[in-house]
Subunit: 202 residues, 2 copies
């Protein structure tokens, strides 16, 4: 089951995937070679890869194409998943225009905003709906994921709305801790805090 993988390992899987995809030569690659390229321990690489269906071969390592397939399979890149964005400000629009989600089988299907100037527009080919219609639209669209790009002051209320519409996974860019019921998973990305942490290091 996926729940037994440490989050630390799970977070490294996309790093391996990006690296392997960036390679041009096919054939085999060893855990040691991956470890050297990414600046980490080779046992850790093998342990992480062992959570996927990847099978290394003694003496040669992992077949690059197989390893990519195993990582993609584990990360669900082949399952199509719909995501919606709340808040069509600059960040929300940036995510609507970003094409990197498709690598992971994620499709941004719509955004919601309370600004009537934005409602009815399209960004990156995706519609911006009125947040008032969110409950109804979410029933129609039935997305698995919600991304919150709203101000901190309304993030909890928006989270409550999306949870009531059966979304269990929320990526939150607002600098506020969301209180959610059991079974709902929140991941937070606070860009300003990240820059401050970076600035504080060493």
């Amino acid at each position: 089951m996926k729940s037994d993988i440490p989050v630390t390992s799970l977070q490294r899987l996309p790093v391996y995937l990006n690296y392997l995809k960036s390679l041009t030569s096919d054939g085999y690659i060893s855990s040691g070679a991956i470890a050297r390229a990414l600046g980490m321990g080779e046992v850790l690489v093998r342990k992480d890869l062992a959570f996927t269906s990847a099978q290394g071969r003694t003496r040669v390592g992992y077949l690059r194409t197989e390893l990519i397939a195993a990582l993609e399979d584990y990360l669900g890149c082949n399952d199509k998943k719909k995501a919606v964005i709340f808040g069509a400000g600059e960040l929300g629009k940036a995510l609507m225009s970003y094409n990197g989600f498709s690598n992971y089988g994620i499709e941004i299907v719509a955004a919601f905003d309370n600004d009537s100037a934005k409602v009815g527009t399209y960004v990156g080919g995706k519609p911006v709906f009125d947040v008032e219609s969110a409950t109804q639209k979410l029933v129609e669209l039935n997305p698995r994921l919600a991304v919150l790009c709203v101000p901190a002051s309304v993030a909890q209320a928006v989270a409550d709305t999306v949870i009531s519409c059966n979304i269990k996974k929320i990526l939150n860019f607002a600098p506020v801790l969301l209180h959610v019921e059991d079974g709902v998973i929140v991941r937070n990305i606070d860009v300003a805090a990240n820059l401050a942490i970076l600035s504080s290091m060493i």
Copy 2:
């Protein structure tokens, strides 16, 4: 010294700061109250806060205003730090327009792009310069931080440029691992990977 704080603790400090700022009542707050509000252990809260200059008082806890000041001091919110953005695409423009950096004493002073249609424009009141002039402008501006919002294919080259201009701290949004010399710190934010990780959880 700051280098002896675990990164895990450092990453929680902005969470405490956000929470404390969100409170309206002044006076004292205990580590237990903070822990309950944020869903964590109270000893961990005390340990984390002990890295700052905060002084709790037995029987009552921490004076909210003092604790905020201690966290802001530790995180360097009172030191003005200049940051530049590379890549004035949607994400870069979103960060130029974002006003949350000032909470941490960070000022975005400029962006660089190779698109002549963007060069010379202003976003959020900040200029977009030609990436060709980056080396010269970086000498003038002398920023401490660089944020990379460029495509993965050019991220390493941009990183090399900013490092050669004496920037030691890089926040990288490109889904690629940057190779940097000792003494340079990179933090990565891969939004698509974060959404994929979230989607894979439980």
